[in-house]
Symmetry: C2
Subunit: 149 residues, 2 copies
């Protein structure tokens, strides 16, 4: 597994932080490595609390590819997805999710709603968490520390 | 509590069914009764598995009102929201959710991920389910029965 997509997302997440957005970034990547869509959080810019990077990336990938299911694609994201984004990935039948930092407070994969662990969940991607966890987590902690001061 | 918004949504959901969309409709309504945004599912039309009526209505309401939180607004929807839409409502701090049919298979409020019952859920709207349950459920059952034949 290459960590390169997460490294690229860290660069995008840093741009988000400079724009006042929580520094989280996500991309949809094809099996051949082609990046179909990349977004950072746009909650502040769009004034829309649902404008998470993962959801925007999934929606854009569907639009660009003209298909509602993304079985052969991987969702890369710097933070464990929340329940909204995890369920969005289930709806889109995302093949694989590779994410950076764990999120005990807001995550919905390993924490909280544990979307994919529900008996009613109709699609469970392959999931790899904790990739470049230290870097992804440090960026978020630095952002919130600066906001508090 | 008025059932009028759900009655209006049933009309919109019927239009969805005619267009081949799963007949679910949702609206964001202000305290004075003004309808800010109404959508039916647009999964087929957009080729986007995340294009649920509730999510589209929340996103449009944020865009129209220019605000990311909708504390004083009610989300009306003909079916129990899934985990994606329930968590979207939590992110947007929706004041109240009033929904029609219960959804043991795909719901994320009373079933499955039970988003608002999680200790990590940061916002729980007032929730009223089962409003015009029979009519909302019958429309969905008729749609799927016709699809199977």
């Amino acid at each position: 597994m290459s960590t390169q997509p997460i490294q690229s997302l860290l660069t995008i997440a840093r741009v988000a932080a400079e724009a006042g957005e929580v520094p989280i970034a996500a991309s949809i990547v094809a099996a051949n490595g082609e990046v179909i869509a990349s977004f950072h959080n746009e909650v502040e810019q769009r004034r829309d609390a649902t404008a998470h990077a993962e959801l925007l990336a999934i929606q854009m990938a569907c639009r660009k590819l003209g298909r509602k299911y993304l079985e052969e694609y991987t969702l890369y994201v710097t933070l464990e997805p929340c329940a909204m984004c995890a369920q969005a990935a289930a709806h889109a039948k995302i093949g694989k999710i590779i994410y950076g930092a764990y999120d005990p407070k807001g995550g919905g994969v390993e924490h909280g709603a544990r979307v994919f662990a529900q008996a009613t969940c109709h699609h469970t991607p392959e999931i790899i968490g904790g990739v470049m966890e230290a870097e992804c987590g440090a960026l978020l902690r630095a952002f919130f520390k600066e906001k508090r001061t």
